[in-house]
Each structure stands twice: as structure tokens, then as C-alpha cells.
């Protein structure tokens, strides 16, 4: 499903003209949103002019928050996610004394959309946090043993705090990209445990990056009307869809996670289509990430 922008724009124009939707598009989106979307889907395009398999423009900005050890800001169309990682020191878990902790948390504040209310995280935020924790574990992007400083005594805790600044659908993809980019940006100081006092000694002047071995990238799809698969749904499309599926692939074209929370059943071929699209998406995002990292180093 390669992108063909000109065809999409010509089709898009035709659909807009024949249905005289340009006269009152807002009315159509509040009163009869499903019909409005169906008209576009019949012509294999979407209301914002994209093809069914096209992602929105992705923008990445790394290292802007200096108080965090690593940070990244991702914009996927209008959806904006910021991830900040802070490293702290703690005793390693009793059941795994040679491992550190990675604690991701996703927050959907009332700032990002009118559908969220202030207070404790709702279902969507909790589900997203758990999804990110699963991806980190399944993909083994970071070995938890690397975070241990001294077995049984001291290890690093990486608090990955992901905040959504603008909610326009498909936050899972954007969160994974933000997490990956900020992990690559993290610089932790060198820590030794003093033999005599048993306390830690931190050398802020020597910092090193984390060892990221795998690069998982997610691709989310929404199922429309039990049959049509669209990639990277916006918030309107998410509200009207009948099912969701998110596929996470790493750079060796290995499957890390498939997240399908109920919804319409999918056939084998459709699932294979999703996986193929996710593989291409991984290549696109890794290329972008490398470009950004190179330009950071050049400074």
C-alpha cells in the first residue's frame, strides 16, 4: 500500500464536489458522521485526503527538556505526545537482584481533549500504560540487566512519563515512537558503590547512552463497517470504527506484539496485510530516527 498522493487528492476533490459536502461539512460531521465517512471510503480515500494505507506526517524533536535525562516530542498529524525519562536510584527487586526497573506511564490530561476529565487516569490511559509496558518487555529493546549497578544493592529505575498534549487519534503509535526516541536520547551518569560507606557515588561529568538493541515500531489500524481497514485513524474515525488492531514489529521484521482488544473479527489475509504494512512503517520510522540522531550528534 504505497502512497500515491495525486490520485488521492483528485479522488478527494471528486467526492467533495459530487456530494456537495463542502457547503456544510460541519453539519455532516455532527449529525450524520458515519454517512459522511462512508462516502469517502467508497472511493478509497478519507475525509482528510489520505489514502487508506497512508500515515499522517510524522515530526520528531529530541532532547528539548533539559531537566529530564532523555526526552522526545512526536507529532503524528495533530496528535502530539511528549515523553520524558528520568533515572533514579533504588534497590533492585527482591526476586530479580540483577535487574533494574522500567516504569512507563501514559497520561491523558484534560489539556489534550475535552473528552478527558481531571482526576485519576481513566481506562484508556491505564490500557495504554500496560500496552507500553508489554511492548518494552516483549521486544527486549533494553536489557533490564544493563540497568543494574551492583547486584542486590543498587540499580537504576527509568521512569518513562508519556503525556499527550493533543489527542487526535492513534496515540499508541505515537507513544511508542516517543518512547523509543527518548530512550535513545537518555544519558545516565556513572555510578559506583563505595565499598566502605555503602553509599552511591555519582559522577555527573561522565555520561553514557543506554544500549538499545531492538527498535520496535507500532502501526495501528481501525476496522470500519466490519470490512474496511484504515491505517492511523484520527479521533473521528476511531469513534466510528467497529474494531482496532495494533501490530508492533522490530527492525528484524519480527513480530513483538499484536494488540486486538475485541472488536470485529479479522481474517488471516487482513492480518497479514496489517503485518506487511507495519514492516514498511518500521523502516520509515527507523530512517527518520537515524536522521534525527545523526543531526543531534553533528551539533
Amino acid at each position: 500500500m504505497l502512497r500515491r498522493p495525486q490520485r488521492a487528492s483528485k479522488l478527494h476533490q471528486r467526492v467533495m464536489n459530487t456530494n456537495s459536502l463542502t457547503q456544510a461539512p460541519w453539519h455532516q460531521t455532527t449529525v450524520e458522521p458515519l454517512e459522511y465517512h462512508r462516502k469517502f471510503l467508497k472511493e478509497n480515500c478519507r475525509p482528510d485526503g489520505r489514502e487508506l494505507g497512508e500515515f499522517r506526517t510524522t515530526t520528531l524533536n529530541i532532547g528539548s527538556i533539559t531537566t529530564a535525562d532523555g526526552s522526545a516530542l512526536v507529532k503524528l498529524g495533530n496528535t502530539t505526545i511528549i515523553c520524558g525519562i528520568k533515572g533514579e536510584l533504588a534497590a533492585p527487586p527482591a526476586d530479580a537482584p540483577d535487574k533494574g526497573y522500567i516504569v512507563p506511564n501514559v497520561d491523558l490530561p484534560p489539556l489534550c481533549s475535552s473528552r478527558f476529565r481531571p482526576g485519576p487516569p481513566g481506562e484508556q490511559a491505564q490500557a495504554a500504560s500496560q500496552f507500553i509496558a508489554d511492548v518494552i518487555e516483549n521486544s527486549e529493546m533494553l536489557q533490564r540487566e544493563d540497568l543494574c549497578i551492583e547486584k542486590g544493592k543498587l540499580s537504576w529505575v527509568l521512569y518513562c512519563d508519556i503525556i499527550c498534549l493533543d489527542y487526535d487519534g492513534n496515540i499508541l503509535d505515537a507513544c511508542i515512537i516517543a518512547l523509543l526516541a527518548s530512550m535513545k536520547n537518555v544519558q545516565l551518569p556513572e555510578v559506583h558503590v563505595n565499598e566502605q560507606t555503602g553509599l552511591a557515588e555519582v559522577n555527573m561529568k561522565k555520561k553514557r547512552h543506554l544500549n538499545i538493541v531492538k527498535h520496535p515500531v507500532a502501526a495501528s489500524f481501525a476496522v470500519f463497517d466490519n470490512s474496511i481497514l484504515i491505517v492511523d485513524p484520527t479521533s473521528d474515525e476511531e469513534n466510528l470504527s467497529t474494531g482496532f488492531i495494533t501490530v508492533v514489529i522490530d527492525e528484524e521484521e519480527k513480530l513483538c506484539t499484536v494488540h486486538k482488544p475485541g472488536g470485529t473479527p479479522l481474517s488471516n489475509e487482513k492480518l497479514q496485510d496489517c503485518i506487511n504494512r507495519a514492516i514498511t512503517r518500521n523502516k520509515e520510522v527507523c530512517k527518520l530516527l537515524n536522521k534525527v540522531m545523526k543531526s543531534m550528534k553533528a551539533k
Binding site: 528539548s64 533504588a90 506511564n105 484534560p110 489539556l111 481533549s113 493533543d166
Partner: protein
């Protein structure tokens, strides 16, 4: 601290690595780090932009030095709680939050008492500037998030919130601008950075040491919020307020320009 059952938890206790770094005893420098002068009205250059959050009615982002604040405004919408509906005036609800990674020491997710206090201060500063009698039976929600705190977070939050309210088209008597100050002995430091706000004093005396935040309505020249902490004598206090007011006036031109650009970008000029 109440246990947060809705978030993924790490270890019971963890400490920031900064606690273990050898603190070099530094006396507060005579010159300010970024080249600004003591005792002069020198505010950091501000970058302000409106209309970033597509989902919000109005939004604004301010960057001043390293302090980064984003605000979005929703409303007027129906009040959430029926018994708080006021038939004559609209209700203003302000939420102020620090992102966990915004300070040198990680803040938790649950809103701390300091954040609640700052939310009330923000509400008090913004309230006089809005024409709430034009929005009966409704509620206006203002949410401020500090992405990086390098000093004077509340002052910039006030400015950011009023830019966002103007961007949302909420009727206001005037913009509300904030400026803060730190008094050290006989000198004051306007728009202090985080290091300047928390630095240890040079001498043992506690005279004339404190911080202040002033929220001003510039063209009506009225003060809508004044927060002061510490120990200040009368004369330095009066001078400090005057310095903050002048700081606000300096920011006014930047805020004006930001709003004018936003208006021109968002709305085409009306027809004849």
C-alpha cells in the same frame, strides 16, 4: 502519600542521583548566570505561540529561557456539577500541573498540595480579567501544564493562560500578565531561574529575602494577583512590586504581537 493503584508502580522508594553528587560549596555569584543584571528590570526573552492544540478551543505555549509552559482552554461548556451552576456568571476552573519530568527532582503524578495552591493562585489572578457575566450557566476550563520548570513557572503560567483565553475568544477586560521576582538582601533578581529561586543565601541574615509574583492587567494598570513569601521590609517590598509591574509591561508587547499573529492566521478579515 496515597498509594496510586491506577498507575504502573516502580520500587517503593527511589532517590534522585543528584543526592549523591558531591555538592561543591558555591557562594551565590555576583553576576547572574545568563548575563542579566541584578537590581534591574531584565526579563528573559519570551517565545509565545497561540493555537497549537487542535482539539482545544484556544491554546498557548510560552518558552522563556528554559521554562516551557503550555495551556489549553475549553469552554464555555455546561457546568459539570449542577449545584455549582451560577445563573448570572460563568464559572472559571483552573488546573495547574507540573509534568513529572519538569523539575530536577521528579514530581509524582498525583497533584500535590503545592500544585493545588498554585491552581488557586492562578484562578485568583485570572478571574478579574474575564467578563464572566457574559457566560451565564457555563464553565470555562483552563489547564496549564509546565513541561520544564526553570523558575517563575506560575508567572509564565498566568501569561500563558490569558493568551490561551484570548485565543479561545473568551471576552476579557484585559490580558493578564505575570512576573516574578526574588529579593536577596538589597538586590532583586527579576524573573529568576530555578537555581536563583532555590539558592542558598550568602550571609546568615534572613533580612530581605523572599520571592514575589505579581499579576497585572496592563492597559487598565490594575494588579489582579500578588503572592509574596519570605521576609521583606516595607521599602524593598514596594520597590519589588514596582519592578514586577514594569517587568509585566515589558512582556506586554510580546504578548500583543503573539495574539495579533494568531488572529491574522486563524481568521481572515471580515467582508466589507
Amino acid at each position: 502519600m496515597p498509594v496510586d493503584t491506577k498507575r504502573l508502580r516502580g520500587p517503593e522508594e527511589s532517590q534522585s542521583p543528584w543526592l549523591f553528587v558531591e555538592q561543591e560549596q558555591q557562594s551565590p555569584p555576583d553576576e547572574r548566570e545568563d548575563g542579566r543584571r541584578k537590581g534591574q528590570v531584565d526579563v528573559r526573552p519570551i517565545f509565545a505561540r497561540c493555537g497549537l492544540v487542535s482539539q482545544a478551543k484556544g491554546s498557548a505555549y510560552i518558552e522563556s529561557g528554559k521554562t516551557k509552559v503550555i495551556c489549553s482552554v475549553y469552554g464555555p461548556r455546561e457546568t459539570e456539577r449542577k449545584d455549582e451552576t451560577d445563573m448570572k456568571f460563568g464559572r472559571l476552573v483552573c488546573t495547574f500541573r507540573f509534568a513529572p519530568f519538569s523539575c530536577a527532582k521528579r514530581c509524582g503524578w498525583i497533584q500535590s498540595t503545592q500544585e493545588k495552591d498554585l491552581s488557586m493562585a492562578l484562578l485568583g489572578s485570572l478571574h478579574p480579567g474575564l467578563c464572566l457575566h457574559r457566560y451565564p450557566r457555563s464553565q470555562i476550563d483552563v489547564s496549564v501544564l509546565v513541561l520544564e520548570n526553570d523558575g517563575s513557572a506560575l508567572a509564565h503560567a498566568v501569561t500563558c493562560a490569558s493568551l490561551a483565553l484570548a485565543d479561545a475568544g473568551i471576552e476579557m477586560y484585559d490580558l493578564v500578565l505575570g512576573c516574578s521576582l526574588r529579593q536577596e538582601g538589597s538586590d532583586y533578581l527579576l524573573d529568576p531561574t530555578f537555581a536563583e529561586e532555590t539558592q542558598e543565601p550568602a550571609t546568615e541574615s534572613t533580612e530581605n529575602r523572599g520571592g514575589m509574583m505579581v499579576a497585572l492587567l496592563p492597559s487598565l494598570n490594575q494588579v489582579s494577583g500578588l503572592l509574596c513569601s519570605g521576609d521583606l521590609e516595607q521599602q524593598p517590598l514596594v520597590e519589588a512590586v514596582a519592578a514586577c509591574i514594569e517587568g509585566c509591561q515589558r512582556i506586554y508587547s510580546v504578548a500583543q504581537r503573539c495574539l495579533l499573529t494568531a488572529v491574522k492566521k486563524k481568521n481572515p478579515p471580515p467582508d466589507g
